[in-house]
């Protein structure tokens, strides 16, 4: 891998990390568990690994943006996450900022 490729990979990684919270909040409107969320995000084209997602889910839960509950009715107990009322408010604000940033970047790209 050339030096340019390494730089691009790192920068793309940074870009993706920045949008990860938005992606998770958008995909937890329905109650969902970790692995199912990984699959849902991957099917949408967001390449995220389990070991990155689970700590992120816990962090968002700690910040009260997600609520969680254990489902022990099935053979394997699973922890389900869902966006909280505070999470919805944050999501709305984040979405507005995302759209604004996107608009600015697009304007700059058109000028180039």
């Amino acid at each position: 891998m050339s030096q340019k490729d390494v730089i691009v990979t790192n920068l793309v990684g940074e870009l993706k990390r920045g949008t990860l919270v938005l992606s998770v909040l958008l995909n937890t409107k329905e109650s969902t568990y970790g692995y199912s969320l990984v699959q849902a995000l991957q099917s949408l084209g967001i390449d995220i690994e389990q070991n990155t997602l689970y700590p992120l889910l816990r962090r968002l839960e700690k910040q009260a943006l997600l609520s969680s509950s254990w489902d022990t009715t099935e053979s394997r107990p699973r922890k389900y996450y869902q966006i909280s009322p505070l999470g919805l408010e944050v999501l709305n604000d984040l979405t507005a900022h995302w759209q604004e940033t996107n608009k600015i970047i697009n304007t700059m790209l058109e000028e180039v």
């Binding site: 568990y33 970790g34 389990q50 070991n51 689970y54 700590p55 962090r59 394997r76 107990p77 699973r78």
Partner: protein, 223 residues
């Protein structure tokens, strides 16, 4: 799936105690979900090993769950390193001065000089480590008390504070504060190493006092 249980147990050893049980339970279920989706319900030992390898070492996995547990807040780091360097510098100077005084007072045999040099180096290292450790403990306590790892020592700064700044050579104020700490440290070390110094100073002052003519009785009456 003993291997998975052993893996989860190994991860648990590095996890924060409060959330360990919950994280382990979730990890176990999630890992089994992934293994089942990738290799089916009855994976071989090799497939299990491949899944675990892809997931990461126990320490790597646990570290992702840890928040930025900084021992010393990022706002204090520069100050801590600055004081640490100053301590080493000041103690080196102080012990070198003591070494030179010792040389001038004692015998100048080569053996004694070598022993004294070694002793001075050992003292510098020992005293520096001890002083830096105490300073470090102080900063750790400060960080814990603030409970905020992104400490900004200048969070109450306003542009009005610029009014007191007189433009001069760069680093002047840093050197000034650095020198004051340096001289305090040198003073403490010298007083500790040579406790007889204050009594010598006292006797010099009293002998000067004796040489000065004493005021007459009428002076006290006026006063």
């Amino acid at each position: 799936m003993k291997l998975i249980e052993q893996y989860i147990y190994a991860i648990g050893k590095y996890l924060p105690y409060n959330s360990r049980k919950d994280i382990k339970k979730e990890l176990y279920a999630s890992l089994l979900d992934e293994i089942e989706a990738t290799y089916g319900e009855n994976p071989t030992q090799k497939e299990l090993e491949a899944a675990i390898t892809a997931y990461g070492t126990p320490r790597q996995v646990a570290n992702r769950y840890k928040e930025n547990n900084l021992v010393i807040g990022s706002g204090y780091t520069d100050l801590f390193f600055f004081i640490s360097k100053l301590i080493i510098f000041a103690l080196s100077i102080a012990f070198t001065i003591i070494f030179v005084i010792g040389l001038l007072e004692g015998d100048l045999t080569p053996n004694k000089i070598i022993v004294d040099i070694a002793r001075t180096i050992a003292r510098i290292i020992g005293a520096s480590l001890s002083a830096i450790a105490w300073v470090g403990i102080g900063f750790i306590i400060l960080t814990r008390l603030n409970n905020d790892h992104h400490i900004d020592l200048e969070d109450d700064w306003t542009p009005k504070d610029l009014a007191d700044i007189h433009i001069g050579p760069e680093g002047e104020s840093k050197i000034e504060s650095g020198l004051s700490i340096f001289f305090i440290l040198v003073f403490i070390v010298i007083i500790n190493t040579m406790p007889f110094l204050p009594s010598i100073a006292e006797s010099i002052i009293s002998s000067i006092y004796c040489m000065v003519p004493k005021p007459r009785k009428w002076f006290y009456l006026i006063c």
